[in-house]
């Protein structure tokens, strides 16, 4: 579904991402892990088109989208969350989803999507909010939510764009055990609905339990790829990533 070919990004002299090849299959959950500064978030930003590529290609469903602006990639079905939460703080919870909701249809339907939103659209937003357990907060300003709720709202807003590929950038950061369990359940539920997910996460248990496949990055390069079990026993990964944990 998504194919990264020799993906490369330099910031000045720093090789943030250096020739990464990666394929994400339809319907799978891919974990993307690696030490801090290994280029995970940069890859997400490149897939979304927030930075221009230095070299390589981003191919989505067989077409090269490397030069498309971010909003057109969202229209194709790629949505994301941010590691440092970026909500529209002065909008209500409900409006945050409304902004992201894909304006569907042509002609009158399109116009209605912009002006009022059809009954169907409104119900869809309410449903999404309920799924993320935010229904009771719908008229609250997003900026006034508690931290965990803001994380859920980020996730909900990304989901409201009706993506077929969802990029989650550390969705569990700062969450407690109970919230992480809920997150785990939601990710599984979305997969059952056919959403493909790329998950960046430092929380090892979550990654190991929920992903089908894991790619490991270090210094901007992919050093390993495989099932969670394979990754856990891979000596290279131990050295680069898990190794630093055992040492500490």
């Amino acid at each position: 579904m998504l194919e990264l070919r020799r993906l490369t990004k330099y910031f000045g002299g720093v090789r943030a991402v250096d020739g990464v090849d990666l394929t994400v299959a339809e319907g799978e959950i891919l974990g993307l892990i690696g030490p801090n500064g290994s280029g995970k978030s940069t890859i997400i930003n490149l897939i979304c088109g927030l930075f221009p590529l230095t070299d390589g290609e981003v191919v989505f469903r067989g077409t090269d989208i490397s030069t498309l602006p971010p909003h057109e990639r969202v229209a194709l079905g790629i949505a994301r969350t941010f590691q440092n939460i970026r909500l529209f703080g002065q909008l209500t919870v409900w409006q945050n989803l409304w902004v992201a909701q894909k304006a569907r249809g042509q002609g009158r339907g399109f116009l209605r999507g912009w002006l009022g939103g059809s009954r169907h659209d409104r119900v869809a937003i309410d449903k999404t909010l309920d799924f993320f357990d935010l229904g009771h907060k719908r008229d609250e300003l997003a900026g006034n939510l508690a931290f965990g709720e803001q994380r859920r709202l980020e996730f909900a807003r990304a989901f409201a764009a009706k993506p077929s590929l969802l990029l989650l950038d550390e969705p569990a950061a700062g969450m407690n055990a109970e919230e992480i369990d809920q997150l785990d359940a939601r990710i599984r539920q979305l997969r059952r609905e056919g959403v493909t997910i790329v998950l960046i996460e430092h929380h090892v248990e979550l990654v190991m339990s929920v992903t089908d496949r894991i790619a490991v990055l270090n210094f901007g390069q992919k050093i390993a790829e495989g099932t969670p079990a394979e990754i856990q026993t891979n000596p290279l990964v131990r050295e680069a990533y898990l190794g630093t944990q055992t040492a500490a």
């Binding site: 909003h71 969202v74 941010f82 909500l87 909008l91 409006q95 409304w98 902004v99 304006a103 300003l141």
Partner: protein, 302 residues
């Protein structure tokens, strides 16, 4: 009585000016070009009724459209820059428009009179209202019909998805882009809508003052245009209206009895207002609190 009607006219036209800046501010852009669009509207409308002999309403429509087109054209290059750069770019554009009219002369012979814009002396004799027998009251009512129509349209826009999208761009461009919004298109649209409204206001202004000249459209007017919505708050259109009444009605006219001291108080009160209410007199929090209050009232009533 005419004094008060005149004041109400000024408040109406300045509300339009403030609303034009409001649209742009929603997307997080500070534009000091609004006085320039206002000037374009004023000169175009004046020239159409005086030199072209057009009726007022089509002249206003064309003036508004002209200012909108100019705003759209300025929007594309200007909105590539942000923050201070945009403030300076739009200030410079507004000044360029003013200086253009300072050097702009286009006069026609009418009997023994020469009419039309005349460079630094300005554009006199925009006498559509007196020539067609409109009283001050008629003019005032007409201006307010326009103001109310614009406010209603913006109020409705604010509550539609368009409003949410404009505000989303203002809050966080990156997140808005990542939510599938074409940020450039949204910003240029906001600028165009602002231009349309400013042009309308300028057209009305030219006709009730009957005499326009370049100095009226300087940096001060541009600053007032953004001051109204910032002072009033960006949560809805009434903030701008309240700020216009506060500044034009209270600070400028209401405090006239204080003589010189009024002007001192004027700047000071703006500073104070920003310290006490940095998000404006009416902010989004106020609205949510109000809503909650209303809902509690309903529940208590039921």
């Amino acid at each position: 009585m005419d004094f008060y009607l005149g004041l109400v006219q000024i408040i109406g036209v300045h509300t339009l000016l403030g609303l034009s800046a409001y649209c742009v501010l929603l997307t997080g852009q500070v534009s000091l070009a609004q006085a320039g669009f206002f000037a374009v509207g004023a000169y175009v409308a004046g020239m159409l009724t005086v030199l072209g002999g057009w009726p007022l309403i089509p002249a206003l429509a064309v003036a508004s459209l002209a200012a909108g087109i100019v705003a759209c054209a300025v929007g594309f290059p200007a909105l590539r820059v942000k923050g201070l750069m945009l403030v300076v770019a739009t200030t410079a554009f507004g000044e360029a428009v003013r200086l253009f009219f300072f050097n702009f002369t286009y006069q026609l012979e009418r009997g023994e009179l020469r009419i039309g814009p005349h460079g630094g002396e300005g554009f006199r004799q925009i006498r559509y209202f007196p020539e067609n027998g409109w009283s001050t009251l008629d003019v005032m009512l007409f201006i307010w019909v326009v103001v109310i129509a614009v406010m209603a349209a913006l109020w409705w826009m604010d509550r539609s998805r368009i409003g949410a999208v404009l505000r989303a761009v203002g809050e966080d461009e990156l997140a808005a882009q990542s939510s599938g919004i074409n940020v450039t298109a949204v910003k240029v649209s906001a600028m165009t809508i602002g231009g349309l409204i400013a042009g309308l206001g300028g057209g009305l202004f030219a006709h009730y003052t009957t005499h326009i000249e370049h100095v009226q459209f300087g940096v001060v007017l541009a600053t007032f245009a953004v001051a109204y919505p910032i002072l009033g708050g960006l949560s809805n259109v009434f903030g701008t209206l309240i700020a216009v009444i506060f500044i034009q009605g209270f600070l400028i006219e209401g405090l006239r009895f204080m003589g010189d001291w009024r002007n001192l108080l004027f700047g000071g009160l703006i500073v104070l207002a920003m310290i006490v209410r940095p998000r404006g007199l009416i902010d989004a929090g106020t609205l949510v609190a109000l809503k909650r209050l209303l809902r509690r009232g309903e529940r208590a009533g039921a």
